[in-house]
């Protein structure tokens, strides 16, 4: 592709190539080239667009189709049309709606805690790190480092830290601090703390990413604004409220949006810990976890597809709501 196209486009353009000093002849060259721009533009975007349609667009439509059918993996029976039965079961059939509604609730809990806490923490870190101190780069890298850790590994590290035996890292630390009054506690297995554990390890892994984005936002605030504020005798809190926050508003909105969408997609850490680490399954199953186990362990593809569709609707609604609510300055 690459070698053929310029050969078509080049000769006419070359014939008309004007001397650099002369501006006028450039004009007639344009319409001729522009006429072909559609071809080149189309050819250039075709591979990516084709890939996206094949692996995102079509599967997404297919999810809708599968969700109104009774499809079972490895079953000799042909898929049959099922109407909205899968959705009805998800929300009202006691056998199936139990785990599913629980997974929705778990997802919601996760997002409600992670979005504000992680964003707040990231903002605090970004402000702390937005200083001209020696070795500040080392600190920035340190806080960013967990971001490059694959979730499958993060889950394993924290499986050890939160281990239920009295030799687990957290348990023995608490034991030392409380002079032996705090015994072994099963952080991952106890339904009261299982989700909290997932939240902590997720924030630990993800906060550096948000921090870097916020740091960039902070660095775009002109220093003079702070100097002016200081001349007006604004305290640190007032500077934060009236200079910092307005200055990074757009960035903050972006970070909140990103975090809430990502927090609905949580899967890896739950899966790894449930399968290998004695994680309380009921207290931590998320919507994606539910979809995967339904498709994979129960071979119920139709119902998994219905979960997928619901999941997608939630994520899109979330994105759209936030665009509306937090960005009024973009509306005319």
């Amino acid at each position: 592709m690459k070698s053929v196209e310029p050969a078509h486009a080049a000769p006419p353009a070359r014939e008309q190539a004007p001397p650099v000093t002369d501006v006028k002849p450039a004009r007639p060259a344009r319409p001729g080239r522009r006429n072909r721009d559609w071809l080149h533009g189309l050819l250039m975007s075709t591979p990516a667009v084709a890939g996206l349609i094949a692996f995102v667009g079509i599967p997404f439509c297919y999810a809708v189709v599968l969700s109104v059918h009774n499809v079972r993996l490895g079953s000799p029976l042909e898929p049959t049309f099922f109407g909205l039965e899968q959705y009805r079961r998800l929300f009202t059939d006691p056998d199936m709606s139990g785990p599913f509604l629980r997974s929705l609730l778990n997802n919601l809990t996760f997002a409600v805690v992670v979005v504000p806490v992680q964003t707040g923490l990231a903002l605090g870190l970004a402000i702390l790190l937005n200083r001209k101190l020696k070795a500040i780069g080392v600190f920035r890298s340190l806080f960013f480092m967990p971001v490059v850790f694959p979730m499958a590994l993060v889950a394993v590290i924290w499986r050890l830290i939160l281990a239920r035996s009295d030799q687990g890292m957290l348990n023995s630390a608490l034991d030392a601090v409380s002079f032996g009054n705090w015994g072994a506690f099963d952080w991952l297995g106890d339904s009261a703390t299982a989700m909290a554990s997932i939240i902590v390890l997720s924030i630990w892994q993800g906060v550096g990413f948000q921090m870097v984005i916020l740091l960039a936002g902070l660095q775009q605030i002109p220093g003079e604004l702070y100097e002016a504020a200081e001349l007006d005798r604004a305290g640190r809190w007032q500077q934060f409220r009236h200079v910092t926050l307005p200055g990074i508003r757009g960035t903050l909105v972006f970070v909140v949006m990103l975090t809430s969408v990502l927090s609905f997609r949580v899967f890896d850490q739950v899966y790894v810990l449930v399968k290998g680490g004695g994680l309380n399954e009921d207290a931590t199953r998320t919507v994606m976890y539910q979809a995967v186990t339904t498709a994979f362990d129960q071979n119920n593809v139709g119902q998994a597809a219905a979960i997928t569709v619901v999941f997608f609707l939630i994520v899109v609604a979330l994105t759209l709501i936030q665009r509306r609510v937090v960005r009024p300055d973009n509306e005319d």
Partner: protein, 284 residues
């Protein structure tokens, strides 16, 4: 000393800044420290209370044991898992850079009817998280399970990468392309010979983001791969850590081997990565 916050810094304040940062950094780094320390200790000393941090009895035995225990047809070959992950990352990153940057250029710098419609389509597809197409994809390609190509192909075209390139290309002054065109370069030559070389930061940041995502990729392999001979590293990690009884020293050594390639890439390209993530986010 001028400071970005404009506050005057006394030596005491500076000391406090360092103190706060150091404490936070220490707490933050503990899990990583635990990983590296534990990987060098005998297994029975890893899960051993706070002494898990103490540098006693350090050796590389765990690493040797991982490599030797994952060295047969029945247990799989460690270097094979690593090789598969590297190969997949290479294909997805280079293929993605090529395909997505080209599309972004065609959509942002060439004027043609319908380009806005195509770009809107891409923005819409950007809303679709991979998770919500995983199940139908899994069903569609069920007969391709345990192949290498199905592990890479769905991730080459990436709407978010197109968007990132699009944002970057829009900031290039049009005069550069006009000059190139006056010299007789067509759109393809202009793109490959002029735009690509001057867009290194965009390529670097997209490459690193793609590499990170691909290296940690888990959901898709869980669905599609059961055969150890095509299994990527993170999936094998989860299989390895679930074995009973767990051998903690070896599990942590495995973890270090899993994260080491990313840490190396990160160390080299850190600045570009941070710049790239930040600039696309602030503009977007």
């Amino acid at each position: 000393m001028s400071t970005p916050t404009g506050l005057t810094r006394t030596p005491l304040r500076r000391f406090l800044d360092y103190a706060v940062l150091s404490v936070l950094a220490f707490v933050f780094a503990l899990p990583v420290l635990y990983l590296f320390m534990g990987s060098l200790k005998p297994s029975d000393e890893v899960l051993n209370g706070l002494s898990g941090f103490l540098p006693t009895h350090l050796s590389f035995d765990n690493y040797a044991n991982v490599l030797s225990s994952l060295n047969s047809d029945s247990t799989g070959y460690f270097w094979r898992f690593m090789g598969i992950s590297l190969l997949l990352a290479f294909v997805v990153v280079t293929g993605g850079l090529f395909v997505n940057s080209m599309a972004a250029y065609g959509l942002s710098r060439l004027k043609w009817r319908g380009r806005n419609a195509v770009f809107t389509l891409i923005l819409l597809l950007m809303l679709v998280p991979f998770e919500s197409v995983a199940v139908p994809l899994f069903y569609m390609f069920n007969d391709q399970r345990n192949t290498l190509f199905i592990q890479a192909l769905p991730f080459i075209a990436n709407a978010f990468s197109v968007y990132q390139f699009h944002t970057f290309f829009r900031s290039i002054p049009p005069s550069i392309e006009e000059a190139a065109r006056l010299d007789g370069a067509g759109p393809w030559r202009t793109f490959f010979a002029i735009i690509v070389p001057m867009s290194k930061p965009a390529f670097a940041s997209v490459a690193i983001l793609t590499f990170l995502t691909q290296w940690g990729s888990f959901l898709w392999p869980v669905l599609m791969v059961s055969d150890p001979s095509v299994r990527p590293l993170p999936l094998e990690m989860s299989v390895f850590q679930a074995q009973l009884p767990p051998d903690w020293g070896q599990i942590l050594a495995f973890g270090v081997l899993l994260v080491l390639p990313v840490l190396i890439v990160f160390a080299f390209f850190q600045r570009w990565f941070v710049q790239g993530v930040a600039s696309s986010a602030v503009k977007g």
